[in-house]
């Protein structure tokens, strides 16, 4: 038996090596990945190590930095939460219902992906400014959005929406209608079917979509700076603070803050991958 196993193993491995170009393509991939991404990124950690621990702690716990973390994390989290709600709704409507121009509305969900962030930023700032189409309705009520910290939330909701929709939509479309019918015919109410049958299946995708929107919002710069007032302690997000430090030629401060942000996004990335791997294994097992 072990000989047979050995034989299948050899044919299997030989089968994969019939195709040419493995060494060349993998070699080039690793070389190019190292040159463009990995080596440059290690510079960041190398420079951080040069800072020394006390310096690093001082930089990342500076009051202005703390205020920026609060706004960045708070606004990103809130925006991702709002996106989770509306993204779920949009994914549901696009995936389940038929209505005029459905394909058109499906396409514009990707607009924030395709639109350059600077364009998104000035468009939103114009729309919500005192003279803008939405802003001029709000101005008499003394509600200001553009050039205030509120603007940060608006920009982050804009850029994060497609992540939630596009993560939930395929799972929703994959769900067999029979599952719901079965639940229904076994006497479950509509609410029970939704909460106990649909929601558990959609939960991993929802968490992944939320985390993607959150991670993207944390790193966002282009759209936010056009709509925020960018004032320290008020409307300043972490990437803006990094840019400010750079324009003061304070490279160590920028580096320290960048490492904090980078580690956070890597942890989020790891979380998303783990959830998705767990979810796909879970679904295969069923």
């Amino acid at each position: 038996m072990s000989a047979a196993l050995q034989a299948t193993k050899t044919t299997k491995s030989r089968k994969h090596h019939v195709l040419p170009g493995f060494g060349l393509s993998l070699g080039f991939t690793i070389f190019w990945l190292s040159a463009v991404v990995l080596i440059p990124l290690t510079t960041l950690f190398f420079k951080t190590c040069q800072l020394g621990w006390p310096n690093f702690v001082k930089i990342v716990t500076d009051p202005e930095a703390i205020a920026a973390y609060k706004l960045s994390f708070g606004a990103s989290f809130t925006a991702a939460l709002i996106n989770l709600f509306f993204g779920f709704l949009v994914a549901w409507v696009l995936g389940r219902y038929d209505f005029p121009f459905r394909k058109f509305f499906d396409s514009i969900v990707d607009l924030p992906f395709a639109l350059p962030t600077a364009v998104a930023g000035i468009s939103l700032a114009a729309l919500y400014s005192d003279k803008g189409w939405i802003g001029h309705f709000l101005a008499p009520h003394n509600i200001k959005i553009s050039y205030t910290p509120t603007g940060v939330y608006i920009a982050l909701i804009f850029i994060g929406l497609p992540y939630v929709v596009r993560t939930i939509q395929p799972v929703l479309e994959d769900l067999e209608g029979q599952v719901e019918e079965a639940a229904e015919s076994l006497g479950a109410s509509r609410m029970q079917t939704f909460l106990r049958v649909l929601l558990p299946t959609l939960l991993p995708a929802a968490i992944a979509g939320f985390s993607l929107a959150f991670a993207r919002a944390l790193g966002e710069y282009g759209s936010v700076i056009f709509i925020s007032n960018n004032l320290p302690f008020k409307g300043e997000i972490v990437p803006q603070l990094i840019v400010n430090e750079l324009s003061n030629y304070d490279y160590p401060a920028a580096t320290g803050l960048a490492v904090v942000m980078l580690v956070t996004s890597f942890v989020l990335l790891l979380l998303v991958n783990t959830i998705q791997r767990y979810a796909s294994r879970h679904q295969e097992a069923r």
Partner: protein, 291 residues
């Protein structure tokens, strides 16, 4: 990770969900549509309205401004260098990952995704730390009189970084799903490696490749944060179109800023149209294949 939207090739079956009262459907659909129009479409319409507020003549006069032209040229240059390089990388990466088995494959896929997880500002910062005056390679570059940071070269490198995963990400799942049978058959029938690649692989991945290229190009031309950090925003020298928008906003030249924004918005719309076409074509191919 956070980044390229994937093609949605699923065939939809509507109306098989739990039958709901019609008013629930109508209300949910209306909320979704109002949200999409108000949040996504309205800002775009506003910027077009603002750009044309001064009349069509003013709009087109903007494109005669030498700084605007220089910004357009630099944007095109950065994309013209970054996109082809990423195509070569994307095809090579997808070939090795999807057609062969080797240890550490999943790690490699994760590493390719890194630029999506990195804030654009940090991407720019990294190259500043590497090539800048206080940077690791800074003194050496200065000794040879090579300028990367605050020069067009830095813009190209930053663009290359942020657009790195796009093509590979589109191609890897596509080529994995296609397997290796067709390529093996071609080799068996006497094709050499190059013939196999040109006649079998390229036609098979054509639509995915087109989509990857258009996404990569759209990001390359629209990137703001990463190039902002390495550019120094020198008008006529290191300003790309998005950076020129920022400079004009700072100088209260709103018309030019909005006009440039509409030009980039058109690019985004073209990207979405191409996506729709590619999705339509691929779904049809898929349907033919399963019949």
């Amino acid at each position: 990770m956070a980044g390229a939207p994937k093609l949605n090739l699923k065939q939809r079956h509507t109306g098989r969900s739990v039958t709901k009262p019609i008013w629930v459907r109508i209300i949910l659909t209306l909320i979704a549509i109002i949200f999409l129009v108000g949040f996504l479409l309205l800002p775009l319409l506003e910027v077009f309205a603002q750009a044309f507020a001064g009349g069509v003549a003013t709009y087109f006069a903007t494109f005669k401004d030498p700084f605007v032209l220089s910004a357009i040229r630099l944007t095109l240059l950065a994309a013209a260098i970054a996109v082809p390089l990423n195509v070569v990388f994307g095809v090579a990466a997808a070939w090795s990952i999807s057609k062969f088995n080797f240890p550490g494959k999943n790690i490699l896929i994760t590493l390719i995704d890194i630029p999506f997880a990195v804030s654009p500002v940090i991407a720019g910062l990294v190259f500043l730390l590497l090539f800048g005056h206080q940077g690791v390679l800074g003194p050496w570059l200065e000794a040879h009189n090579w300028k990367i940071v605050f020069a067009p070269a830095g813009i190209v490198i930053a663009t290359l970084f942020v657009t790195f995963p796009f093509v590979a990400r589109e191609l890897i799942p596509l080529m994995q799903s296609q397997g290796t049978d067709e390529e093996q058959a071609a080799l068996m029938l006497g094709a050499n490696g190059w013939q196999m690649f040109r006649r079998i692989t390229v036609p098979n991945i054509k639509w995915g490749l087109i989509y990857g290229v258009i996404l990569c190009n759209s990001r390359a031309m629209g990137e703001f944060g990463a190039v902002y950090v390495v550019s120094g925003s020198i008008q006529g020298v290191t300003n790309t179109m998005p950076l020129e928008i920022e400079t004009r906003m700072e100088n209260f030249d709103f018309t030019t800023a909005y006009t440039l924004a509409t030009a980039l918005a058109m690019l985004a719309l073209i990207t979405l149209i191409v996506k729709t076409i590619v999705e339509y074509r691929s779904t049809r191919l898929l349907a033919e294949a399963t019949e």
